[in-house]
Symmetry: C3
Subunit: 395 residues, 3 copies
């Protein structure tokens, strides 16, 4: 199977800016008093046992990081995810529906799997992040069912110090595994990480090529062969199958959903994602935004759930080509979304499903009937997320 580096690639230029321009100061947590202990307090074992996460100079090209904490996904996680986002895709919602088309039971929502794997990487990769710059080459490799236990490993595949010497970009390829050792998910991510010491030498200087998009031929590993004839479009909520969508078609998902602090905190903890900026209002109050920043993945899940209205049969996210968190989301805002069909592809050897390449754009406090995206050459100020991904749809 082709790896991401074998595919048409984009250069990092397009993503070398910060996700949110000028964001740096805002992400800095409150400067804590120095954690040096007085000698009277020191014992032989008194070195701090608190993890402070890795800083830019701590990474090395080729480094493999096995992440804590293994996590058994349960029907409880699925229920809470449903309560927080309200997805309605029939395959994930109903064991009976899933079994009728060929799954052993309802699989776990693809984004819940992503968030859990991603969450594991945070304490090692992005606890000292300034900005989450981008994703690429995210592919789903096996379905996950309640009872499966997920673990994650990241390989450092690139490092690039910024000219300020205060931060650098870390590129990792993260892989999620289940208990049998099989891969369930892999993706490349790059993130701007602070240096502990500005004068420290850069630990490497290599910008990897990342794929412009996941090749259709590599899609579908996480979707068993399905009986598309047994797929009941009425129960699924929409008559539109793969052949009914056209490249260039735009869909307003109409509905809006307002986000509460409790909701994004519960979600982000469910993934065991420990990034402090999502939880600590005391420190955030003294930062640039004055607010807790909502985990970017929360916006992805909201947009995916909203996209049901118009894309109800796009039941499986097979890959994420890339995405930008264009602006930050805070509690109290209402999220709307629209999508455009960027491409269509048949999967080699499969007549059961086809792949739609979608751009889904999420906006803040702005219904999307006018498909907001750009304002001149700039991003429309309402845009939160611009996500490029492949979904599978029955034919």
């Amino acid at each position: 199977m082709a790896g991401p580096n074998d595919e048409p690639s984009r250069t990092i230029k397009a993503f070398s800016g910060e996700a949110y321009p000028g964001l740096d100061p805002g992400w800095e947590p409150v400067r804590r008093r120095k954690r040096v202990k007085r000698s009277s307090e020191m014992t032989s074992a008194a070195m701090t046992k608190t993890s402070t996460g890795n800083f830019f100079e701590d990474f090395r090209i080729g480094q493999m990081i096995r992440h804590a904490t293994p996590r058994t996904v349960t029907a409880g996680d699925v229920a809470l995810y449903n309560g927080l986002f309200g997805p309605r895709f029939a395959v994930q919602s109903s064991d009976a529906f899933a079994q009728l088309i060929g799954y052993p039971r309802a699989p776990v929502d693809d984004l819940l799997v992503f968030h859990i794997v991603f969450g594991k990487t945070v304490p090692d990769v992005s606890l000292n992040a300034v900005a989450n710059l981008g994703y690429a080459g995210c592919r789903y490799l096996a379905p996950v069912y309640p009872g499966d236990t997920l673990t994650a490993v990241s390989e450092v595949i690139g490092l690039k110090e910024n000219s300020s010497r205060q931060t650098g970009i870390v590129f990792v390829r993260s892989t999620g595994f289940k208990q049998d050792g099989g891969k369930v998910l892999e993706y490349v991510r790059w993130v701007m990480v602070r240096k502990r010491d500005q004068k420290a030498a850069a630990p490497g200087d290599h910008v990897p090529r990342v794929p412009e998009a996941v090749l259709p031929a590599t899609l579908g590993d996480a979707c068993p062969p399905i009986d598309a004839g047994a797929y009941d479009v009425t129960l699924a909520g929409s008559p539109y199958r793969f052949d009914d969508y056209a490249v260039g078609e735009k869909i307003d998902h109409v509905d809006g959903v307002t986000v509460e602090e409790a909701e994004h905190q519960i979600a982000t903890r469910l993934y065991q994602n420990t990034a402090r900026i999502h939880f600590d209002q005391f420190s955030a109050a003294q930062g640039r935004f004055g607010r807790r920043l909502i985990y970017g993945g929360h916006v992805i899940s909201l947009a995916r759930a909203l996209s049901f209205n118009g894309l109800a049969n796009g039941f499986h996210i097979a890959a994420i080509n890339g995405g930008r968190h264009v602006s930050p989301l805070f509690a109290g805002s209402t999220v709307f979304a629209w999508s455009e069909v960027l491409g269509k592809a048949e999967l080699p050897g499969r007549a059961d499903v086809g792949a739609l390449r979608l751009r889904t754009v999420a906006c803040r406090d702005h219904p999307c009937a006018d498909f907001p995206l750009k304002s001149g050459n700039e991003d429309d100020p309402a845009v939160l997320l611009d996500l490029d991904y492949w979904v599978l749809m029955p034919r």
Copy 2:
């Protein structure tokens, strides 16, 4: 078994007003920009795929609507429901308790089943609703256990255009099924729905008779025969059995619970209920109330959980005779409740349980020691809900 129309009926007059007088403008979502695409954007498949729901003129008498999305109920849903409402009825709380009296395991809370079935009907029946006018003839027909998959079908049994010609009342009989095809729940509901086009012809003119109350002889299908002697009243939380209650008795449930936005949103999404007015503060801010309206079923579940204090052994809702959402609830309010025993009935051939007909009244920011209901001829302004239902209680 007798159908609702075979039973003593009430006329619709009593319910022909709007649930919340003068509510109409408030429920209107923000008028969206026209969703017409420019011709340059049009493709052969570019008709909108977004469901806009049915308008009054889209319904036909006798129409059968199979609803999306099938939903497997899990122990996760039960846990989240417990966290959101805090019910303490022993049968639903404990597998061990349920098994001791004759259930195979703890059944799913009756109202969780109702909300899930109801939620499925929303995208087809009430997405364009102005007001939810009433329920009748709601009967539970089989117990639901974690692992069961629920689906729903509605039959349009009545249509009545309003004199304004801007709206009409739609009557449906909705039925919930589980995966084996057995019915778990049925009820009649009527709802005022907007017309898309005021000039459209009325699609029918028939007001069905709805039952005044569910007949006792038809109760109990969802409650297996229980061993009332094995029912441990100490573990269940109250010494009072069926024979200890008297018609006319009133019970103040004492406790109050304040509702948060995150709570009702999580609950309503858990049911996959997509009614926009519960989730979209951006649009609500421009409406009559300026607030997200809380799903009426949320009040029912709060009142039911509060009613444990005084009705702890009324472990199963066998039927809902009718109910009125007297006034809307918004986050930040505190809900109190009281109940009155309206009637008592033995079930033919059953010595294990008896049926109490209850009126449970929920109030906003008003403790219920004085049993608020009417203020002269008007509803007491504190009243949120006036619910008439049957519970089963061990003898």
Copy 3:
């Protein structure tokens, strides 16, 4: 096995003050209108069926109280607990990890078990509490797994009227059981309870001796023998095992988490804890604080989850020696925590795990790099919780 009273004991003097000095008026719920019914409403069965809880004069030394409501703990409860607190201890998070070291599957989080057992005691013991004064001798006696059903029994072991004659202290030994009759948890708790009638005679006058700390020899019943060699410290999130900790060592857990009203309400309802002060803003608005008071156990769970950063391998709480809720927590505050190693102990006959005695201190809106505890002879005003407990850690 030694009972708490066989162990070195402390006198009640140290705990005879109120938990929050001067708190009494604040905990008083709004005085309700008298719940006396007019005679016209009275029927033979019309005595109130609402439980008003026990008042101080209702208790008797030696009284055994079997509490409602039995509760089957499920994977759904675990998921919701995870979403609310974000614990990352590998043993509880992963079936695969737990099985590798010798558990049949991942056990339920120890504090979730505590809260559920504690919650059952509230309607009988502390519905009329003025202040929750202290805990002692809390030991975990068997692991709990999803599917187990928990019940609780309390024995009244002490009673002491306060000089005001308006309140008295009730001492109970509460025990949690699972469906097979085995004990899972026991603890002593004392709580100040209002009298219904100030003139009522005191129902007893006995202050039991409570243990200063649980003896190490009695720890570990809820932890099966584990294969410490199979315990993967990388997956668990920290290289530090039992031998790496030294008495006197202090650890700042660094992270802060802000608490929302919806979160603590959902958590507290999940435990079926009915204490009104946590849920009823209408009544609280007229009390001393003007706010809903957050369940003290919420702070314990937050502190435990935060303590992962520095104590990741302290996977099992074996006992709670005692604890003080130093000041109340309200929504909107951010909780930080630090810990000190108070002692270390080997467990007789066990080479797999050792016990660390920890003090964990939680603070409000105050990062803990300076280990806040006292301000002169007074409690530091930031301190919420001072908890003394034993955790097991692999050797």
